[in-house]
């Protein structure tokens, strides 16, 4: 029990970049677009946030820069896939190659420079409550922001008209088009939101979690975020559960190693991936519910034939 509290605290931190990136991708996919370039957008977010923060001394500007960089990358993807109707899967992968290269190029002069981390919140007596205090009231702001974004997305998708339209576009772009919704414009916005959130996920790494810039510092988290959207069966709150599960199992295996367990570390490191598969299998058996949540036109090129 004594190590339970820090366990939760570490897990929340580890899950945060995944939550940001995954919730953004979820909105993108709900509109019927599959953007596999999350890793590239995260990296651009990370490097932009770091560069701007260190140059201006303002974290706020850094976060804005991350959002901006993520959106620009996403719009580039949108231009290719929505306007030029190119293949989404291939463009997403190309976007990752591009993002890795560009972020390394931009980041050249920022390697090895320190930056003050985002301060953890100190809510006075709230943070001092045993167990609840450290878990609920002593993280940095972005940990809470990530959870808030998930709630906001859930509310937006299922309780607003705009959310309904977005889902309709993802479900059947032709039907949505027939009713008169601007399919392409809506998808552009969804893709841009995905980019903004991926940018924030990257910024969380370079500003808060490990405040530094090193090349390719996301180390594959964009891919995990993509998997989490599928894992969540496109439902926002399940993104949280997925990220916590993945982060939790990761920390658990690190704990076991620290405690001296005699199992090869490579096998221990497999656990988060295997756990995700196992849980997915358990929750996927109800086929109809998944089909209801999966956007039917995902990955398909839309062009209103005239």
């Amino acid at each position: 029990m004594e190590s339970f509290v820090p366990f939760i605290v570490i897990m929340l931190g580890a899950a945060t970049p995944l939550i940001f990136a995954a919730i953004g991708e979820l909105v993108t996919e709900k509109s019927g677009v599959l953007n596999l370039g999350v890793e590239g957008m995260m990296l651009m977010g990370a490097v932009s946030a770091f560069a701007v923060s260190i140059t201006t001394g303002s974290t706020t500007l850094g976060l804005l820069a991350a959002i901006g960089a993520g959106v620009l990358m996403a719009l580039l993807f949108g231009l290719l896939t929505l306007t030029l109707l190119a293949n989404q899967v291939a463009c997403g992968l190309a976007l990752t190659i591009f993002g890795i290269g560009l972020s390394s190029f931009i980041g050249k002069d920022y390697v090895g420079k320190p930056l003050d981390a985002l301060p953890s919140m100190d809510l006075g007596w709230l943070s001092d409550i045993p167990v609840l205090g450290p878990v609920l009231f002593s993280q940095d702001l972005m940990v809470y922001a990530a959870i808030a974004v998930v709630a906001a997305v859930a509310w937006f998708l299922y309780h607003t008209r705009a959310g309904l339209v977005l889902r309709a576009v993802g479900e059947s772009h032709h039907a949505a088009h027939a009713i008169g919704y601007p399919v392409i414009r809506i998808r552009y916005m969804a893709v841009a939101f995905g980019g903004a959130m991926a940018g924030l996920g990257g910024a969380y790494l370079s500003l808060a979690y490990t405040p530094m810039w090193v090349e390719h510092m996301t180390a594959g988290r964009g891919w995990i975020a993509l998997a989490l959207v599928v894992f969540a069966t496109w439902r926002p709150f399940r993104v949280l559960l997925g990220a916590w599960l993945f982060g939790g199992v990761t920390i658990l295996q690190l704990h076991a190693q620290g405690a001296g367990i005699a199992v090869p570390s490579q096998l221990m490191s497999m656990l988060p991936y295997i756990a995700t598969i196992v849980v997915l299998v358990l929750i996927s058996r109800d086929a109809t519910r998944i089909r209801m949540n999966a956007p039917a036109s995902i990955g398909k090129v839309f062009h209103p034939e005239r």
């Binding site: 989404q88 008169g180 599928v230 991936y273 998944i290």
Partner: protein, 373 residues
């Protein structure tokens, strides 16, 4: 006047061949601008990137070596992609192929024989198939998304290889460094051109290109895959199930990825080591689409991707261009190629009134067409 796009009923050959050329020219131009802006001589850089690797026999052979896994995996993946089966984990299947084929070589490290290499190829292919069978099984039996399962299994496979070369398959005379014994001669693929690394695997990849074309264009299986990809329901009426297509896609792409992995360890690497592939399984996804899911297109796309990697090395060596810029340039190349594909499927038309176009489009949604993925 504003431009709009019109779906082509058929693509003229000229357009099919012209678009990549235009894309290449655009890339060359914007690449030149990029290099010049960063203070590198643009023409020299472009020459080093695109031409220099092609100027020696060894360079050409190396492109073949690099393209072999990309083409093999790309062909396998294209079959699944046509049937809307999303195998994102070819990298993992490649790794398992390397492990299984490599394990055979290591089991017979002191026995030589002509039977060894075929046995390794079989083991590698089966290993890849087995790893591909997991997402197929979970998809067909439990409805679990093949995207997630295949992707996650890639990490598992890489860690498993790491475990093996740090443990059971470690070279007993290698001072406990994480790598296996070197394979002996009869466990290595023969080279096709003397004094280069171009190996038998490249010839087999070419054969697979032809076989892939034949299967997709001339057999019932190919037809079924395409039908399922376009309209899953139609397959049911025609008497074949999506499950069958999922299985077939994963066994084929897994098997070919496994074979590619075996070719890497039995070809240019010559042993098992912690990293057998610099992401071929992922790059092959781009190759498959760049090649428009057509075997010959995949062959050309694979060669082009290989050239772009080699070119990236040459500009680093010759001009000191950092790898980061190579990545940016490679991304641009892909964007242009993928973007230009537009004109193979659509025609540009200039409308007089934007409103008329929209209204017409909205009025006839039933005729709207889409292209799967």
């Amino acid at each position: 006047m504003r431009p709009s796009l019109e779906l082509r009923s058929h693509t003229p050959r000229s357009i099919l061949y012209l678009t990549p050329v235009i894309a290449a020219l655009l890339t060359a131009f914007s690449g030149g601008v990029l290099f010049a802006a960063l203070g590198y001589p643009p023409l020299e850089a472009l020459y080093a990137f695109f031409i220099q690797p092609l100027t020696s026999l060894n360079g050409l052979a190396e492109i073949g070596v690099k393209a072999t896994p990309l083409v093999l995996i790309g062909i396998g993946l294209s079959i699944g992609f046509r049937g809307n089966v999303w195998n994102i984990g070819a990298e993992g299947q490649l790794t398992l192929g390397a492990i299984c084929g490599g394990a055979v070589a290591l089991a017979f490290y002191d026995v030589e024989g002509v039977w060894l290499l075929p046995l390794m190829v079989i083991a590698g292919t089966l290993g890849g198939m087995a790893w591909g069978a997991i997402p197929a099984l979970l998809k067909t039996r439990f409805n679990a998304s093949e995207i997630l399962v295949s992707l996650m299994l890639t990490y598992v496979a890489t860690l498993f290889l790491s475990y093996l070369v740090h443990g059971p398959l470690m070279d007993p005379e290698g001072f406990n460094f994480p790598q296996s014994r070197l394979f002996h001669d009869s466990a290595l693929l023969p080279t096709l051109i003397p004094f280069t690394r171009l190996h038998l695997g490249a010839a087999i990849a070419l054969f697979i290109v032809v076989a892939g074309w034949f299967v997709m264009a001339r057999t019932l299986i190919g037809f079924q895959v395409k039908v399922i990809g376009l309209t899953p329901a139609a397959g049911g009426y025609a008497g074949f199930s999506q499950k069958k297509v999922v299985w077939m896609a994963f066994l084929t792409s897994g098997g070919l990825a496994g074979m590619a992995g075996l070719f890497e360890v039995a070809g240019p690497i010559g042993q098992l080591s912690p990293s057998v592939s610099p992401g071929y399984g992922f790059t092959a996804i781009i190759v498959a689409f760049l090649g428009r899911l057509h075997p010959v297109g995949i062959l050309l796309a694979g060669l082009l991707m290989a050239l772009s990697y080699l070119g990236g090395e040459v500009v680093q060596i010759e001009l000191g261009l950092p790898l980061a810029i190579t990545g940016v340039f490679q991304g641009m190349l892909l964007f242009f190629l993928l973007g230009a594909d537009l004109f193979t499927r659509y025609r540009l038309r200039w409308n007089r009134s934007p409103a008329a176009g929209t209204a017409a489009g909205a009025a006839r949604p039933a005729e709207a067409r889409e292209e799967a993925a």
